[in-house]
Symmetry: C2
Subunit: 418 residues, 2 copies
């Protein structure tokens, strides 16, 4: 399988360390120009100069999701607004969105990283690549479009079409690579069989699965049902971008582009680095981004660092991304849904805090959606059925627009709430 950028992806380990160290020091200096970081470092009694080796990085304090809200919207930007050419909005853990900015050069780096990831899955200029992601992953959709254009593939960008129409395009346009979530792919299979289409009538050969962490049998089933090979990509809303980690043809862990990101794995309770090969929380430092440096960002993602050389030839270390188990977040169709965020939207729309509520992912006809059950207090809610229907329609419309996923509201009597 070809490698997009052999020099950068297969760098000698010592040279890599040297490169990372140089880039880290510039990154810390750039961050130090941002008032937030300067104060943050000062509160912890450090300055960028304390970092003389990669090990010293642990003397620098973490940044956490709360720092995004506190610096909303542009407080984390390290360049003047006139140098920013793209501003992305992503859902965060609170009422305020996470804002990230890119300079022209940042966008070029990100294109390069997506191109790397696609090349590792065998995507080339002979492919037609279709992006089918939910509106909640619009930023990633744009990144795939850009990256695929770099490798010269024909790109059918994200649309909002019903599944039958997506399938028609997949077939008629001779799509060979589909970028979607595991749930999205399962839904496709459902409609494929429903339309009595034989997978052999499709030109599809490669599936790029984004966002979800599918179980092994999910991937295997999809490969069998669609007659394709599937590859996992992983990303974070805050970086942003979908190809922070990508599988090569070995499909044994996801390579991280360590020339642009420094990764650490820490014990989520103590913040200490875990021992080699142990599971922990991924901590990310951006080495090259200009607009929006992240220094020791606690991602909340659980990972295990894999050791040993990968037969593919890339020296970029691999991580195993573990299904995330924090209590306040779900992944539905690849879209991260924060409990707190739903709570905020419900409270805003209702005008009061919902007394009883529950969220879950529900699958029907292989279509996954978010179901929100709300306990109905008769003293609060109208007892007219029509009014109740209007309320539930309004809540599902707002939630759906805001998180970019299909949403169903179930109003239940409080007594029957389980």
């Amino acid at each position: 399988m070809p490698i997009w950028n052999r020099r950068d992806e297969c760098y000698d380990a010592d040279e890599r360390l040297q490169q990372q160290m140089e880039r880290l020091q510039s990154a810390l200096n750039r961050a130090y120009n941002v008032p937030f970081y300067r104060n943050h470092f000062a509160r912890h009694g450090v300055e960028p100069s304390v970092v003389e080796s990669i090990e010293d990085l642990s003397r620098i304090p973490f940044i956490e999701p709360c720092h995004f809200s506190e610096n909303y919207p542009y407080g984390l930007f390290a360049v003047p607004l006139r140098d920013i050419v793209r501003i992305h909005t992503a859902r965060g853990n609170g009422p305020l969105p996470v804002v990230s900015g890119y300079t022209k050069k940042d966008l070029l780096i990100w294109r390069e990283l997506v191109a790397r990831a696609l090349t590792a899955a065998g995507v080339s200029s002979t492919d037609i690549l279709q992006v089918e992601l939910d509106p909640g992953l619009a930023n990633w959709g744009r990144d795939y479009k850009d990256g695929a254009e770099s490798v010269g593939a024909g790109v059918i960008p994200m649309t909002t079409l019903p599944p039958e129409k997506q399938l028609m395009i997949l077939k008629d346009y001779k799509t060979s690579v589909l970028v979607t979530s595991a749930s999205g792919a399962e839904q496709l299979v459902y409609h494929l069989f429903r339309a009595n289409l034989n997978p052999n009538e499709l030109a599809l050969k490669t599936l790029i699965l984004v966002g979800d962490a599918p179980g092994d049998n999910v991937r295997g089933n999809l490969e069998e049902q669609l007659h394709v090979r599937a590859w996992l990509h992983h990303g974070l809303n805050e970086v942003p971008g979908p190809a922070l980690g990508f599988e090569c043809e070995e499909r044994n862990g996801l390579h991280v582009s360590e020339d642009h990101f420094l990764i650490e794995v820490v014990n989520p309770d103590t913040g200490e680095l875990v021992k080699a090969g142990e599971e922990g929380e991924l901590v990310l430092t951006t080495l090259t981004t200009r607009a929006y440096p992240l220094i020791r960002f606690r991602t909340g993602d659980r990972v295990r660092l894999l050791h040993g050389a990968c037969p593919c030839g890339r020296t970029l270390r691999r991580v195993e991304w573990l299904p995330y188990r924090a209590d306040d977040m779900m992944v539905i169709r690849g879209v991260k849904v924060y409990h707190k965020q739903i709570f905020h939207i419900l409270t805003r729309e209702l005008g009061f805090e919902p007394p009883l509520y529950r969220f879950m992912a529900v699958k029907q006809q292989m279509m996954e959606y978010l179901e929100v059950s709300l306990g109905v207090n008769e003293s609060i809610f109208s007892d007219e059925i029509k009014e109740m229907q209007k309320l539930s329609q309004k809540l599902s419309d707002e939630l759906s627009l805001e998180i970019g996923l299909p949403v169903a509201i179930r109003l239940k009597e409080q007594g029957s709430f389980t």
Copy 2:
């Protein structure tokens, strides 16, 4: 006001004619390599060589919307698929979408044209530009993102967020340029006043109005209510792209980038060129696109060519785009809605042709949407209210996804159908 590309936009008229003639001959030769065009020309007994001057172009036959369906999906492409890097899907007048392709170079040309149009409205690298268009204009949203990145403005790309949240971003992110439809802008004004926000609290100074052809008082009202200046841009789904025509600071007609497009104005009944300054149908020939040449495409748009030099210095001729009056099309929130297409979707979803139906644009709380009234025949439809509600929900969901606009279905008794 600056000019993005002074050489190309202010070319001497004679040189322009010479350039157009050379480009036209290459375009005809490229098209002639496409089997469809070769046959189409042969049926009309012409070859590219008959065109020895711009006037000779009238010997070449028109292409019409039906040719898109007949050549679905890739029959109009003039380059091999491996040279295509972007494939856009747009709604057409029939059951099949209009497919257009771009090579890398085509994309660069299109970026350039959007950058021209934005620069003519005063947009520069000091601006923050927010794109708020309906999903039905997703392709145009991508084009604005690319073009604005070229001029170096910070871009907040299209999202699907509720209006209150869009307004929050507009205010908090200090958006200075908003790209939207006239209806979208009116909706914004509604929510602005509803939120008790003074327009002076916004950084907004420029409004780019796409898609709709707003009446003069609509533009004037928006400018007054939002304390901005507004500029019109115009495009076609089939070209595709939003900046086929753009206003300069004179705002007296829309300049057409004649180095890339050759325009003719014909009598829609006879197909003959109209007299200077007369109203007619716009016929478009692409001069530089590689992937997807259009030769004498009858756009259906009504225009009047304006004569005389524009004080802005651009020699690109100007057209006045007239509100389109064909019976089978409406423009809602900038999105073109074809009656035939709605009829196709209804027929597909119902399983039979709807006996009585009517479509209209409805505005409520300044939000415009498509209302489809369906005459209910009791022998056909279920008389259970629940079933009817399910049906109407399903129809509105499908229509809304497919045309990219909010849709409401009204089921009415046939007797009461007006």
